[in-house]
Structures are given as structure tokens and as C-alpha cells.
């Protein structure tokens, strides 16, 4: 590891000032479960590291299902999993976060870090995209809000400008008869990187017809994908086998994966359809029991 200046601001404005004013490369530090590994290998050599865990706004979960939850960017996976109301309203979002790493990693890893590390295989991001989460970004020009899917622009790259960082992730108000789910495929049973991740969020009306759906795929393209065609396959249906088959086909068709030691292009493409379908079934069953 090469040397760097360490700062631990206690307010958003102070953090923006440090990040914007830094000479050379400044990196935000949340849980450090990506950044410290990158520092050690020398993949990232910052001049300044800005630890955002002392800023209260980043460390809390506020709101509720009806008004919409606001998850601080630097809340840990363990804390998210312990938040009963959030788990009840958004089990899929929580599942994605809780799949990250081991118990030790859960104690530190954050949704903001997963998003801004911008790995195509990040497990928390697809669930947030499916949920329609909004990312609150603070920077030298003040605050702006953008859909989560607009944050990553390529492997390891985000749309954030110099001086900007993520403050929070806002979930929309939860309609009744809604459910979400996230599934991933990994070659092992724990501690591995996704071959495919699939997040589905949907809402049913009183007759069980799907009125709203969003489908997101991870690890099958340079960034997380929001697959409109897959959502359209569900909307207006009762999420029966015919609709699920269309959804699976649309999910597979959207894939632009790579081949690597974990999976070939053909395998990832096929599995994307299978997982999207399974996630949709779980989300549907949750929506039915969530009146």
C-alpha cells in the first residue's frame, strides 16, 4: 500500500469539501471491503481517503414502508438485516445485501460501497434497481437525485463527478400487494462472485393481476441491466406460466455477458432466464401474502 492522507469528516458538507478540494485521487471509504483489498494490491492508489462512517446521515435507516425508507449509504449489511420493518417491506433488497460475503464482511459492507464499486456482479445493486430506488448524491453544487441504475457506467466506473458521493438510497413508498426478490447463482454455496443475479419487484391488484413490475439483472453485462421487456411480460398478467416463460426469454435476450472461469456466455444467458423466473415467482408469492 502506498501512503495517503486519511480524513474522517462528520458532516456531508465537510466531506464534499475534502473530496472536491483534494489534490490527486480522493477515495471514499465506507466499509472498506472492496477498497482495502484494492489498496493492498495497488489497484487503487489514492492520495486521500475520506471515511464517511462518522457522518450520521449515512449511518441510519429512516422512514417507513408507507412513506418510503431512506437507507444511509454507509449502513452495514448486518444493520440492514436487523431492521425488521425494512425486511418485511423489501425482503428482496435485503436479500441482495445479505448475500454479500461472510458474517465478517456483513459487519462492514455497505449498499453505497456495493453500488459505487460498480462491479457488474455486485449483489445489492440489482435489488435496488428493481425496487426503483433513488440515489441521493451530494457534491460541490449541492444535492441531486438519480435512479440507482444511472450510477454505474461500466466495470469500476460511476457517473459521479469529482467531489460527489452517495449519501443515501431512497426506496419508494410501498404499495400493498407488492413483493420483491433477489436470487443469484454462484459456483459455490457461499463466498463467491455471482454468475448471474436477478432482482424482481412487482405489485398486484385485488384480482391478482400484475400492475407494476421491474426486473434487473446483474453480472450479465458491463453494468446492472434494467430489463423493460421482462417487466412488460409480467404487467397485465396473473404471473402464470405463459407470462413467466416470456419473462425468462426477455431476460435471456437482454444478456451481454462475458465468458470466464465461473461461467460461459451460453450458461449465463440461460441461467439469467431461469433466475429471473424463479425470482418473479417468489416476488409474486410475497405480494399475494402482503395485502
Amino acid at each position: 500500500m502506498s501512503g495517503f492522507q486519511y480524513e474522517a469528516p462528520v458532516s456531508v458538507d465537510e466531506a464534499v469539501g475534502l473530496l472536491a478540494g483534494a489534490k490527486g485521487l480522493a477515495k471514499v471509504l465506507a466499509g472498506g471491503t472492496d477498497l482495502l483489498v484494492q489498496l493492498r494490491t495497488g489497484a487503487v492508489q489514492p492520495d486521500m481517503v475520506v471515511d464517511v462512517k462518522r457522518i450520521d446521515e449515512l449511518r441510519q435507516i429512516s422512514g417507513n414502508a408507507a412513506s418510503g425508507f431512506v437507507i444511509g449509504a454507509a449502513v452495514s449489511g448486518s444493520e440492514i438485516g436487523e431492521h425488521a420493518a425494512l425486511v418485511k417491506a423489501w425482503p428482496g433488497v435485503v436479500e441482495g445485501m445479505e448475500l454479500i460475503g461472510s458474517t465478517q464482511i456483513q459487519g462492514r459492507a455497505t449498499p453505497g460501497g456495493n453500488l459505487c464499486n460498480a462491479s457488474p456482479a455486485g449483489d445489492c445493486t440489482p435489488g435496488l434497481v428493481a425496487a426503483g430506488a433513488i440515489c441521493v448524491v451530494a457534491g460541490p453544487k449541492g444535492r441531486r437525485e438519480i435512479p440507482v441504475e444511472q450510477v454505474p457506467v461500466g466495470p469500476g466506473k460511476t457517473s459521479l463527478a469529482k467531489g460527489e458521493f452517495v449519501v443515501a438510497l431512497k426506496l419508494p413508498p410501498r404499495a400493498k400487494n407488492s413483493g420483491d426478490a433477489y436470487l443469484r447463482m454462484i459456483p459455490r454455496t457461499e463466498m463467491d462472485i455471482a454468475i448471474v443475479g436477478a432482482g424482481v419487484d412487482l405489485t398486484l391488484d385485488a384480482s391478482g393481476t400484475c400492475t407494476h413490475a421491474r426486473v434487473a439483472l446483474g453480472a450479465v453485462a458491463p453494468t446492472v441491466l434494467l430489463v423493460d421487456a421482462a417487466a412488460k411480460a409480467l404487467i397485465g398478467s396473473k404471473i402464470d406460466d405463459a407470462a413467466l416463460a416470456k419473462l425468462a426469454a426477455a431476460a435471456s435476450a437482454a444478456c451481454k455477458p462475458i465468458s470466464d472461469k465461473r461461467g460461459t456466455i451460453e450458461y449465463r444467458t440461460k441461467v439469467a432466464g431461469v433466475l429471473a423466473r424463479r425470482a418473479a415467482v417468489i416476488a409474486r408469492d410475497r405480494a399475494r401474502s402482503n395485502g
Binding site: M1, S2, G3, F4, Q5, Y6, A8, L29, G31, G32, T33, L36, V37, L39, R40, V49, D51, K53, S76, S78, G101, S102, T103, Q104, I105, G107, R108, E190, M191
Partner: protein, 159 residues
């Protein structure tokens, strides 16, 4: 880069140290504070040999910077026995031969203690998932898992 002066609590005692920003908490524990019970297996969060609790949360000390510790509290394997009296998990690991080379043992013990504090009655599956971030190249895990479950049963019985 100049070193920073950090005041933290280590195993219940106030400690001060000078720390280069690039030193990890594991480096600080081992090299500055001579607490060498926490081991360095990988330095990438994969093996769990460096497990400690930070403000009560189980974490890998190789993925924490020493400078992050200002005002925070860490507990290490060195704090597990009370004087000469071993923690029930330590005693059971010895009796059940839940170790061979012993390199992974401090990490497993710290992680298992955190598990039993949160869940005094884990199922085998729960124990295996909780400990999935601790790697052992010797035992094949079975004896470790059995030792943890037996200790949990003993500790519940003695309450």
C-alpha cells in the same frame, strides 16, 4: 505521510498508538500492540483468521484501517479467557480436537463466540453459514462445528 495519534479501547483498556494511515487494524494489533493472537492468512477478507469484534460487530481486522479506530472499541482473542480460565469454546476446542495446526483457531473462536452471543441455540446450518468466512485447511470443519454446537448446548444447560 505522517502518523496519526489514535486513542481507542482494546480489550476493555484505553490504548493510544501512533498509526500510519495505510496500516490495517490487524497490523496495529500485531505490530504495535503485540497482540499476535489475531492471524494474517490472506489480508483480503477471505479467511477470517484476523477476526475481531469492533464495537461489538464481528469483522476482519485486515479490512479495517488502524486510523479508523479513534474512539472505537475492539475485542480480540486475547480477551477471551478470563486469566487462566478458558472460555467454554476454548476448552471444548481442545477437548474435541477442533484444531490441528491452530492457525485458524483464534478466528474461529472469536467468530463462534459472536455467534453464541447472538444466537445461543444455532442449528448446524446456521453455525456453518455464520462461520463460512473462516477457513481451515486442516480439520475439514466437522470437529469445529461439533465443538461449537456442543459448547452452545453446555452453555445453555449451565444457565
Amino acid at each position: 505521510m505522517s502518523k496519526l495519534h489514535i486513542s481507542a479501547t482494546v480489550n476493555g483498556e484505553a490504548v493510544e498508538y501512533l498509526c500510519d494511515p495505510k496500516q490495517t487494524l490487524l497490523d496495529v494489533l500485531r505490530d504495535e500492540l503485540n497482540l499476535t493472537g489475531s492471524k494474517e492468512g490472506c489480508s483480503s477478507g477471505d479467511c477470517g483468521a484476523c477476526s475481531v469484534t469492533l464495537d461489538g460487530r464481528l469483522v476482519c481486522s485486515c479490512l479495517v484501517l488502524g486510523v479508523e479506530m479513534q474512539g472505537r472499541s475492539v475485542e480480540t482473542i486475547e480477551n477471551m479467557a478470563s486469566g487462566e480460565e478458558l472460555h467454554p469454546l476454548q476448552q471444548k476446542f481442545l477437548e474435541a480436537a477442533a484444531l490441528q495446526c491452530g492457525f485458524c483457531t483464534p478466528g474461529f473462536l472469536v467468530a463462534a463466540k459472536a455467534l453464541l452471543e447472538k444466537n445461543p441455540n444455532p442449528t448446524e446450518t446456521e453455525a456453518r453459514y455464520w462461520l463460512a468466512g473462516n477457513l481451515c485447511r486442516c480439520t475439514g470443519y466437522d470437529k469445529i462445528i461439533r465443538a461449537v454446537l456442543e459448547t452452545a448446548a453446555d452453555m445453555r444447560g449451565s444457565k
